[in-house]
Amino acid sequence: MLPPARAGGGYARRYGLFSVPAAVVVLAVIVLPWAFTLAMSLADWSPTGGTSWVGLANYRHLFTDPEFGWAVLRTFYFTAIGVIAPLVLGLIAALCFNQRFPLRGAARTVFILPMMATPVAIALVWSMMFHPQLGVLNYLLTSIGLPPAAWTYSETTVIPTLAMIETWQWTPLVMLILLGGLAALPGDPYEAARIDGANAWNCFRHITLPLLWPHIVVAAVLRTIDALKSFDIIYVITQGGPGTASETMNIYLYQQAFAYYHLGFASAVTLVFFVVIVAVTLVMLGLRQRSLAL
């Protein structure tokens, strides 16, 4: 068989048919649903019938609805904590697990257990632990002389508390990514640095961190996309409350689509949300490319 470059257009003609199944699948499961969502976003679609085209009215409503604005801000607040905290803790954990010590394998296994838990199940367990009077967390706080916390039962602490669960669950993933990165790092720079008198901090600051940076960015991108999409834990524990204090874009979207049946409007939210995720991801991947180029 001729290599593609030499075969030219004949190759495409001969083997083009082989791509048809893949193209059909992509069309059916990606392109058509998106096209349908786009069409719905331009309509006032009601489950009881009576669909009418409204043009860009759903988008205008979206950008003038203060609740949507607040939902976006809450989403970024939650995402910021839910990305930075796992990155910092995951990096520390990866550096620890990269050292040799007894029972390291067993400790690693225990460390990644939260990642394997079912989100809805762990959400229910956490919600019991957060109970202001009967939860084990306040029992522990008061038993060491600290005042009880309101956890998810206060408008001011609900988002950090939910992000704490996100951190607990997904720090192991970051650790695994960074541990893989650490294992791939060359030993020569460290040897040279030590000969030059560098201490552990200098080695970390000037060798480990720059060399690990591409891996950190990959972990950050994955974590950002995941945190932006987070729904199950928030919905099970607070359903967006107290009030609307934890109503992120996903909860807002769910409410509009499946509680209020504003399916046209919810489609517009979906598309805007998609654009936000793609934009954030592109920015982060751009950062990664720049770091590789340096």
Partner: protein, 441 residues
């Protein structure tokens, strides 16, 4: 002394009983086996009533020869799933359990459910002992659409009552309050934050908290909309009075964190013996008398919501059984519905503490009264609450949105916002949504 002939006769009667029951009686043209061999799918919300139905499902299959596939789905997932499937025109189920307090108008306006009046009237389709007249008038009214269609049969009105801790009241020398004003006063007297004791607990979480406000509004004989469901009455002096009462109880006499409480957190707080009163659905009674989960087994009292300045009502939320209009097996589906709402099943729901059925006769059945595990005070409370029951939510299509908008307003009052301002703001925000919804339908 038993003779051989009478023994044989008795044995023959026992063996023939199912056949006799299946033919109902000689005078009736009704036949339980009419749809033998048919298969139907039943969509249930997850609750103890559905457990009873599934527990007895084999009996229905043996009685009718109809095979049944049934599933229970948590109500917050079941409602949108049902709506979307029925909107598609070909739902995957023939029978559905409907939360009328949420879905009545949406399902009714869309004509997704079958009107059952013709079935009820038809002696060939309805067992002679089914007795429609036995259903409580309030529940029947709730199951009837504005245009007179009865597109579901009421199964269970969940009545809101006051659970109260008799030991805490006794310690303070207080009787159970005779009025809503006395209830607030008692809540303040029972509250001793230094000892971790609180007078009252209820739902603070948005959406879930609405009945904790409308229950007090009903004491003013006030409802959240006009009877046509076109105009909000949520910023009237009566509505504001109810919100002020909600605020006082939740802000000053409820445990910390109750702004985020749903029924579960309220129940666990009350069951630990540190809370004087809890307003919620009678369906949550069972865990309170279970020693494994409750410290108030011997102290819990059940009481009708006390009278307000103008009236005494118990907010009620009715579940019902319905046939989907798109079903191609409506006859078999109707058989399931009438079986699910029969005296036997409803009696079982009552005797197992799984709910408070819509049939009145079960409450005066001596056998059921005797076996009821909650005791005479509970039964008396249920009967009295049924007599004064009233809808706890407006009968409008966007009822979930109503619950969210006004739920947030109520939540804001717990953090100190002015109830009148919050209700006016929520009313102004929601009236256009209601107008738009009414225009569409």
């Amino acid at each position: 002394m038993m003779h051989r002939r009478s023994l044989l006769a008795g044995s023959a009667a026992t063996l023939a009983a199912p056949a006799i029951v299946s033919r109902a009686n000689a005078a009736s043209s009704f036949d339980w086996q009419r749809y033998k061999g048919t298969h139907i799918e039943v969509n249930l919300t997850k609750n103890p009533r559905s457990d009873v139905l599934q527990h007895h499902q084999k009996e229905f299959e043996a009685l009718t020869g109809i095979s049944v596939g049934s599933e229970q789905i948590p109500e917050q997932q079941q409602r949108p799933k049902a709506a979307i499937e029925m909107a598609s025109g070909s739902p995957s189920f023939d029978v559905i359990m409907v939360s009328l307090h949420v879905s009545k108008r949406l399902f009714g306006n869309a004509h997704w459910l079958q009107d059952v009046r013709d079935y009820i009237k038809n002696p060939e389709m309805t067992a002679p002992d089914w007795d429609f007249a036995d259903f409580g008038a309030g529940a029947v009214k709730t199951a009837t659409q504005a245009d007179g269609r009865m597109d579901s049969v009421p199964l269970n009105p969940d009545l809101w009552i006051i659970f109260w801790n008799k030991a805490l009241f006794k310690a303070k020398g207080l009787p159970f309050p005779a009025s809503m004003d006395e209830l607030v006063a008692s809540a303040y007297k029972l509250t001793d934050k230094s000892k971790g004791t609180y007078g009252y607990v209820g739902r603070g979480l948005k959406n879930a908290n609405i009945p904790c406000w409308t229950s007090w509004m009903l004491g003013q004989d006030a409802y959240t909309t006009n009877p046509e469901g076109t105009k909000l009455l949520t910023d009237t002096p009566e509505a504001i009075w109810g919100a002020e009462m909600y605020q006082k109880l939740m802000r000053d006499t409820a445990p910390p964190g109750s702004i985020g409480f749903n029924w579960y957190e309220s129940q666990t707080s009350f069951s630990q013996g540190k809370v004087g009163m809890w307003l919620d659905g009678v369906g949550f009674s069972a865990p309170l008398i279970d020693p494994k989960s409750s410290k108030v087994v011997h102290d819990v009292g059940f009481a009708v919501v006390p009278k307000g300045p103008k009236a005494q009502h118990s907010a009620s939320f009715v579940d019902s059984m319905a046939i989907t209009a798109a079903s191609k097996k409506k006859g078999a589906a109707w058989y399931y519905v009438q079986w699910a709402t029969s005296k036997k099943i409803m009696g079982d729901i009552l005797s197992t503490g799984s709910g408070t059925p819509a049939r009145l006769s079960v409450y005066s059945d001596p056998a059921l009264v005797k076996t009821n595990k909650f005791g005479p005070e509970w039964l008396d409370t249920v009967k009295k609450s049924q007599a004064v029951s009233a809808p706890g939510l407006p009968e409008i299509v966007p009822v979930t949105e109503f619950r969210d908008v006004f739920g947030v307003a109520l939540t804001n009052t717990i953090t100190g916002a002015d109830p009148a301002k919050e209700l006016r703001k929520a009313t102004a925000a929601f009236q256009p949504v209601l107008d738009k919804s009414n225009k569409k339908t």
